[in-house]
């Protein structure tokens, strides 16, 4: 896991995002336990409360469930559903972008070019 300490994005958000990717891509499988809160803090060399907050964020999104005294496991079944939810979110946001581009007077090509450019910037 790669953490940026001065990126402006809180560390717990970065951890939650990366674990979310791993869960949605199936790298961490349904029913599998996430590393222990304190074990992950030790590995990532950050405070316990930071990893705990990341896990709580994942739990709030319904990706994982806290099992009393045993840690957090990845929820079963709903991974497909979640993926769909995320796709819907992408569609919603792109629709907003399309509407905004009309207001700004962009052509379809210009809008697609802008998207491509932003994808490239994200990759860097």
């Amino acid at each position: 896991m790669k953490l940026l300490h001065n990126s402006g994005t809180p560390i717990y958000k970065q951890i939650a995002e990366q674990l979310k990717e791993d869960i949605l891509s199936g790298k961490i499988k349904e029913g599998e336990y996430l590393p222990s809160i304190r074990g992950l803090a030790q590995d990532l060399r950050i405070s316990v409360i930071t990893t705990m907050k990341a896990y709580e964020e994942l739990a709030n999104e319904g990706l994982v469930t806290a099992a009393q005294g045993k840690g957090f496991y990845v929820n079963s079944q709903d991974t497909e559903l979640l993926k769909e939810q995320h796709i819907r979110k992408v569609e919603e946001n792109l629709t907003l972008a399309i509407k905004a581009s009309k207001v700004a007077g962009l052509t379809d090509e210009e809008l697609i070019d802008t998207l491509k450019m932003l994808i490239d910037i994200e990759k860097e």
């Binding site: 402006g8 717990y12 222990s36 809160i37 030790q42 950050i46 405070s47 316990v48 409360i49 705990m52």
Partner: protein, 301 residues
């Protein structure tokens, strides 16, 4: 967030002349690292000594662990490791005597582990062996390392460390953070660390909960994640008007602009102003809080 108390303190009070330590209530969360932050003379050491059971001439009540035990109950001291800045290791002792004493005082002192730790953290070994030197001859850094080795060589449920990082060099501070995280991880939620520091930036990555202490009182406390959301660092260009200034807990101005820490729930008051907002670090928050009360000022230069 809910937590169990590793230590619960109530109505703790101790007076020395003009100084008064007055702590109506304190809760140290089990399974986490709690830092006491404050100026010199704020009362951090006195409070830690009371919590560690080293000082018992105070008013109030302190309870430990799951069954609200007293410090003098059977086995409680055995479960706590303490390291301080004052000479709790006497200066004329040799390293060998420190080891023998730890062995004698604590059943859970592991001599082999102690020797391993001493090697791993590179403690000046001239104090060991039959002709070992007095520990008074050691540097402050080595004294602290020796003290930490005696604490980490025991199997405990709680560490109370007074300014452990201050005399250490940057590499050793980094290593201490690793050792503390590993201590907490091995405890799987049942081990607790309490330490004091005036160098919170060095220890931020191993701090879960903070108490900001000033002039014998608790100014602020909470989980670091919550505290960081409670305050915002505001920056602006040019001159700040009075309205902005009044909202800021601390305020810095130069010829280019200004900045200050503000309570997040006051953010609405800044709507429509050309300002930038950042999540402050623990150092910035604690300095802001301490500055409100501090008698320190910039001398004429």
């Amino acid at each position: 967030m809910e937590f169990k108390d590793a230590i619960t303190g109530k109505n703790i009070n101790k007076k020395f002349g003009k100084f008064e330590l007055d702590i109506p209530e304190i809760h140290i969360p089990e399974g986490f690292a709690t830092a006491f932050i404050g100026e010199n003379g704020a009362g951090k050491t006195t409070l830690l000594n009371i919590l560690a059971g080293l000082r018992q001439d105070n008013k109030g009540e302190v309870r430990y662990f799951e069954n609200s035990l007293s410090i003098d109950d059977n086995g409680v001291r055995e479960r706590i490791g303490y390291s301080g800045t004052k000479h709790h290791l006497l200066p004329h002792w040799t390293g060998e005597q420190v080891k023998d004493l730890s062995k004698m005082l604590f059943d859970n002192f592991d001599e082999k582990k102690f020797e391993e730790i001493c090697k791993a953290i590179n403690i000046d070994d001239s104090v060991f062996g039959p002709n070992g030197k007095m520990i008074a001859k050691l540097s402050d850094g080595n004294k602290m390392k020796l003290s930490l080795a005696t604490v980490f060589a025991r199997s405990t449920d709680m560490l109370i460390l007074d300014e452990p990082a201050s005399p250490l060099d940057p590499l050793m501070r980094d290593l201490l953070s690793d050792m503390l995280r590993s201590y907490l991880a091995d405890g799987n939620g049942q081990r607790t660390v309490v330490f004091s520091t005036h160098n919170i930036s060095d220890m931020e990555n191993v701090t879960d909960y903070i108490y900001v202490i000033d002039d014998g009182k608790i100014l602020e406390h909470g989980f670091v994640t919550d505290i960081k959301e409670k305050y915002v660092l505001v920056k602006g260009d040019g001159k700040a008007d009075k309205k902005i200034k009044d909202l800021m807990i601390n305020f810095h101005e130069n010829s280019f602009g200004y900045e200050g820490i503000v309570l997040s729930d006051k953010m609405d008051s800044f709507a429509g102003m050309n300002l930038s907002f950042e999540t402050p670090g623990l150092f910035q928050i604690s300095v802001a809080l301490l500055k409100m009360n501090s008698k320190l000022r910039m001398p004429e230069m």
